[in-house]
C-alpha cells in the first residue's frame, strides 16, 4: 500500500517536473510546479513530516507560487522562443542526464548502508509539537536570524521594484 502510494506520487512528481521544463509558456510551468509541490507534500507526510508537509503547502504551493503567478500575469509573459542550443547539446543532453541519475541511483543502492524501509508512522519526530520545541529552544538563534533575513528581503524587494536603473 505504502509502495503503491509512493509510486503514484513519484509518477505525478516526475511527470509534473518534466512538464515544468517542457512547457513553453511560463504559466504552465508554474502550475506544473504546484503539482510537484503537492506530490512532495504527501511524500513528506509519508515520511512522518507533518509540520513540513503543511509548511510546504502553505509557504511553497500557496505563497511563493502566488507570487510567481502574479509576476507572470503582471509582465504578460508570452511564449518563449526556441532555444538556440547547439545540435549536439540537444542530442547529448538527455542521455547525459539519464546517466547522471543512473549513477546517483547506483551509488545510493551500493554505497548506502542498508536502511530501514519506510512505513507510514515509522517516525513521529516531525509533529508540530516536536518541531516547535526544538525550533524555539535549540534553534532559537537561527530562527531569529531568519526573521531578520525576511525583513531585509521585504525591504530589498520594495526598493528594487520601485527603482529605475538608467
Amino acid at each position: 500500500m505504502n509502495t503503491i502510494l509512493f509510486l503514484i506520487l513519484a509518477v505525478v512528481a516526475v511527470g509534473c517536473g518534466i512538464n515544468v521544463i517542457l512547457q513553453t509558456h511560463p504559466i504552465s510551468s508554474a502550475l506544473s510546479l504546484v503539482g510537484v509541490m503537492g506530490a512532495l507534500a504527501v511524500l513528506y507526510l509519508q515520511l512522518g513530516g507533518e509540520f513540513i508537509a503543511a509548511a510546504q503547502l502553505i509557504v511553497y504551493a500557496g505563497a511563493v507560487m502566488v507570487l510567481f503567478v502574479f509576476v507572470i500575469m503582471l509582465l504578460n509573459a508570452g511564449k518563449e522562443q526556441k532555444s538556440r542550443a547547439r545540435i549536439w547539446v540537444r542530442w547529448a543532453g538527455p542521455p547525459l542526464l539519464l546517466l547522471f541519475v543512473g549513477a546517483v541511483a547506483y551509488v545510493l543502492e551500493a554505497a548506502l548502508p542498508p536502511s530501514p524501509p519506510v512505513r507510514f508512522g515509522g517516525f513521529d519526530g516531525g509533529t508540530v509539537k516536536a518541531i516547535g520545541e526544538r525550533l524555539f529552544t535549540e534553534y532559537l538563534l537561527p530562527f531569529e536570524v531568519t526573521s531578520l533575513l525576511i525583513l531585509i528581503a521585504i525591504a530589498g524587494a520594495i526598493v528594487l521594484a520601485r527603482k529605475e536603473i538608467d
Binding site: 515520511l47 509576476v71 509573459a77
Partner: protein, 108 residues
Amino acid sequence: MPALPLPAETPLAWYLVLSAVLFALGVAGFLFRRNIITVFISIELMLNAVNLSFVSFSYKLKQSDGHIFSFFVMVVAAAEAAVGLAIILTVFKNRQTLEIDEVSSLKN
C-alpha cells in the same frame, strides 16, 4: 494477473532517487530554458528536490534536524523568490524583455 513484485515497505533509497531525478530535471530546466521566470521556477524545483532528501535522511536517522533544516530552506527560498521576482520586474521595466540571453550587460 499475477501480483506485481512490489516490496511491502518502500526502500528509503527510492525517495533519494526520486529526489535526484527531480534535481536533474531542475538542472536541465535551469540550463536549457531562456525565459528568466522559467529559470527561476527550475531553481525552486531544485530546492524542493533537496528538501525531499533532507526529510528522507531525517527519517533514516530518526532525528528531526532534517525537518528543521528544510523549514529554513523554505524560508530562504521565499525570501529569494521575493527579491528575485523584484529583480525580474526591474529588468523587464528597463529592457522590455524576459529573454535571458538578451540581458548580458554583466558579460565580459
